[in-house]
Symmetry: C2
Subunit: 325 residues, 2 copies
């Protein structure tokens, strides 16, 4: 029996200017634009096969059969692809991450970017980068940033068509490294999906949003000018702004753990003492420490000496989502 | 030789709705109103003696001679008193705290409340409570809240005359206890005085201020209705709002240490599990845990079991600044 198959890989990404809160929860139209860097060497590999024999969509993640809400989110994307391609077959989706799930690395971003590419191509569609970015966004907001390569900006837009990500500089443009201090691989107490919905309950969210275009501009220029000092200041401010909104939501969301705070303090002190490094923290306890390639092994070694740091993953700037044989 | 002498004692206070940022730095006219509780059993005792023999003002704090900036701040208050009383004598000020200085307990609040009362009385003045509160405020903003007794609200005002504190309920009104988890007695890296000046550099300060009257109203009602659940929610929110502004200032001010965050997380979890307790953190690492008198020993014991907690001070609601023989 014939089946239509494609396989794609995609990197996760780490946001420098972060996305928190939606204008449209269903379509993942964000309340503010964001900027990120793809993470090379970490990837999700996803194979999609539309197959006449199937009675429903199937999902395996790291060789485990998955049901319930994750399968429903995948099926929703497959359904959009089926509509666009005018096909009616169910699909088998086999996905594999080479990095720990739920460890403060946006696994859903890589997952939906790879799914958007593999599913659309398996269905015979040839979407352009914007179309792929939009489709990935409908699965998980920040996944739209894992479709283009290198340093990426997601323009918030105001509807499905205008909300997508584009590269602002390619992967080789600047030798930045993300050293991820992993302190917990436990799943988050509150998923990002639920957290976004609480952003508006913080008295600070509107002020954070009102200041976003300023931060985007500073961050974009810092990347284009390869200005690490400027990047460091704006990245740390932006991370602290997002966590301020989280901690003042109702209910309050605390993603920082004591070790998170210790690492943040040490990284800021390293920079004051001349080692160019800065931190950013997503909706989880792990700390992403950005530095230049020349300092990556020193940063990694220092991080490993902090009690509570279980491991350090390192990643240079990664390319776009792409098909593999 | 004749001298004019008076001695006063005053409690420190812990703010439930916090003061951060000034409309007028010199006069300590705050950017927002605040509410606090005086802390019984902790006190500053201050004797002021205007003496013809002195060639300059003298200050001893806990039996140590003090010069420089602390003496200048004390002299500025003495100078105001001399002007009001039309006397020209220098004074000897002997002050003693029965609690550690710089330990996240507002020692300057108790100090300037006691100084305002002792100095004005030693000079023969009989200032009313508002006048004393204003005078204390000129020494250290939050000192104006240590002049009246019990639960106190500082109305921000907009000039020297309109900015003072008043009691909203007396000390015996509600059996609240502050259990202070002391994790460091080290002096702060950035004093509150310097910190206030940075408040306006945070993109979040204006939003925090805009929401203050709502929080003051909720807190005032919670005290008047002895509603612990409502008090707990608004106290923690207000503390997190202030620290959000601090952490997003330029430069960023982090007063939390890892143990601070651990205690905050545990206290919030205790409350979710039925023990009525809540946290608030001033411009320092120590955590003030508020609870009802019935639960104070349980809260103290639990705090002492958290690694990094060196000691726990407990205080019920304290009375006003007062003269002693």
């Amino acid at each position: 029996m014939q089946s239509w198959t494609a396989t794609a890989i995609s990197c996760p990404n780490i946001a420098f200017i972060k996305y928190w809160g939606n204008r449209d929860e269903a379509l993942h139209i964000p309340s503010n634009g964001s900027i990120s860097m793809n993470l090379e060497g970490l990837f999700t590999r996803t194979q999609v096969a539309f197959t006449p024999a199937l009675q429903s969509d199937q999902l395996t993640l790291n060789q485990q059969n998955i049901h319930g809400s994750p399968l429903e989110r995948v099926s929703a994307i497959l359904e959009l692809v089926r509509e666009m391609a005018a096909i009616k077959l169910f699909a088998s989706v086999k996905s594999h991450n080479n990095f720990p799930t739920g460890a403060g690395i946006a696994s859903s971003a890589a997952a939906f970017a790879a799914l958007a590419l593999a599913a659309s191509r398996a269905a015979g569609l040839e979407l352009d980068e914007q179309g792929l970015s939009r489709l990935a966004r409908l699965g998980s907001g920040s996944a739209c940033r894992s479709v283009p390569g290198g340093f990426v900006e997601w323009q918030a837009g105001d509807d499905n068509l205008s909300s997508f990500a584009q590269s602002i500089a390619p992967a080789g443009y600047w030798d930045l490294v993300d050293c991820v201090a992993v302190i917990s691989q436990a799943h988050k107490p509150t998923s990002s999906l639920e957290g976004h919905a609480l952003a508006g309950t913080s008295p600070l969210q509107a002020a954070r949003l009102a200041d976003t275009s300023r931060r985007l501009e500073i961050c974009r220029q810092a990347i284009l000018e390869r200005d690490f000092a400027a990047l460091a200041e704006i990245i740390e401010l932006d991370s602290n702004l997002m966590h301020s909104v989280m901690m003042t939501s109702q209910p309050a969301l605390f993603y920082w753990q004591p070790v998170t705070l210790e690492i943040m303090a040490q990284v800021a002190a390293w920079r004051r003492n001349g080692l160019p490094a800065c931190y950013t923290v997503d909706a989880g306890p792990n700390v992403h420490v950005l530095c230049l390639g020349d300092h990556a092994s020193q940063v990694k070694n220092r991080l490993l000496q902090i009690p509570g740091v279980k491991s350090v993953l390192t990643a240079r700037t990664g390319g776009p989502a792409r098909l593999i044989p």
